[in-house]
Amino acid sequence: MKFFKAFGLLALLILVILFSSGLLLLVLALAFPQAFASGELTPVVISLIVAVTVVGWNLLAGENGSIKGVGLLILLAFAAAFPLLFPNGEVTSIAFFTLMFAAMVTGWNLLAGYSGYLSLGHVVYFGLGAYALALICEHWNVPAGYGIFLLVPVAGLIAAVIAIPAGWVALRVRRHAFIIVTIAMFFIGQLLAENLTNVTNGTTGLDLPFPLAWGGDFFNTPFYYAILLLLLLAIALSWWVRHSKYGLGLLAIRDDEDRARGLGVKTEISKLTAYVLAALIIGMAGAIWSYFIGAVYPMSAFDPTFDVTIALMGFLGGIGTISGPIVGALLLEPLRQTLAANAPDWYLVIYGGLLLLVLLLLPRGILPTLQERWQKYRALRQSERPSDDIVISSLPEQGKPANIT
């Protein structure tokens, strides 16, 4: 019986994916016929399909362990095989940035989603990680090649170490002011990169070693896998935090910090740890990015639009969930890149308009909203037929009243 149920759910999942993808493809083909035909919309299409798959997987595989496992394997296999399936340099480049943002948002979510402290300046650690790697390569004359990837965690650690005192200061203030203090710290980072010309070369920037051996379309591939690895690491960290005692403390802080503290949750250390872990992930992303781009400049490594993009993706997908950040990145990044490339004049207006629309219609983010609707639908289906799990009431016993909601 359970097998058929699993099979049925799997079939349903596949149907949902095919149907929604088909629908989206149709809409895109009708709205942008030229772009669609010329293949420019391919990255957007692919990411939409993957996003739908992730969402569907979340909703339908919720209870069933075997489907969860199978779905996860399929997604992983697809991600691993991606550069082989779509070797085009432009596509893998967009994929790189999509995965990069997915990793950053997942890291950011550790602090913002779980504890409710929204940092709009964590990209300062992206810049720090980027510059750290560039400086290490320069001062130790590191040759180009795969070896540099081993230095990425080092760069990340440097960013994380700086995050400790910075986080301690930033977390002293209330949540509203916290947002702004993080922004201020971001600009301090950017300005220091500009002004400490002895160290950072100021606006001239620094170059990183260029791996000539990786020619043509292959160039993007090592970077793709590096960032994929980082994303998987971030997801694992996010998952583990969510299910640990520590993560529970963070969620309690989000709901009622004072009460949590009163019950013994170590609020200060918890928040700081989340802050630093986010900095670590984002720092490593910055390092990989700097190697990918080949050069760092104050304005590029400390890009203020990244901060808001991260928050947007997190919020869009659903803060506080594990898949939400990924869905957000999948939906926004290829779209953003395609818009910027094809409609540079109208890009900001369209992007801003889309943003507003989504924010107003789905204020809790895509995944939570859909999950809630799904739960309601299932609860409705369940109440229509007898089942073993009684959700609400329990029978009255001697001395105890009935529990009725």
């Binding site: 640990s244 005692k245 520590y246 529970l248 989000r254 019950l263 949750v265 170590k266 609400i392």
Partner: protein, 243 residues
Amino acid sequence: MSLLEAQDVCKAFGGIQALDTCSISVAEGSITGLIGPNGSGKTTLFNVMTGYERVDSGSVRFQDRSITNATPDKVFRLGIGRTFQLTRVFPRLTVLENMHVAAQRSDLKGQLSRWSSTHEHRRALELLDFVGLTSLKDLPAGNLSYGQRKLLEFAFILVADPRVILLDEPAGGVNPTMLNYLTGRIRELNQRGVTFLVVEHNMEFVMGLCDKVMVMHRGTKIAEGTPEEVRANPAVLEAYLGD
């Protein structure tokens, strides 16, 4: 033996003297009630005794040791639990998760392990059963009715195995059936050795439950005794009717 006491506590907010040389004493093993008209300082006294407010002068003692101005989490760890008038639970966490937040372990290993697999899990389930919320354990606490939230709050302060529990208006906004249920739970815990200090407006509830009652008025204690003694005390009547 006095388990918990406040001695000559004074506390002012701006121009208002909320507590004026207030002294009360809670005997071990008792269910003590604390009543008084609105504004008499009952909740402020609670706040001061559990670390949510600092005293201007005076002291608070637990088991003959001073806990004056201790932080709320320290107070909680010492074995003094406290509920709130407007229940403070974690609305986005499930009922079961709420229970686990209260069961905080300070060691690193405890922090890193999956919360659902610790031995505290069993205890959390036991306590949920004690208050009758087992069937709701996977619902977000925010979905619970007011009365159920009160029960949840009650349950999670039990996690720390407190010696004394301060209940702040437990009967407020709760229907009679639930109230009976709550009374039953309190009595049962009392029989197991837990001391209670209950602030309440509902006279029936207090008189029926408590073995000793203290009356506050204008920031200080004006009477104490058994429920019958207090009911007959003219000073008490005047306090309630006079203002």
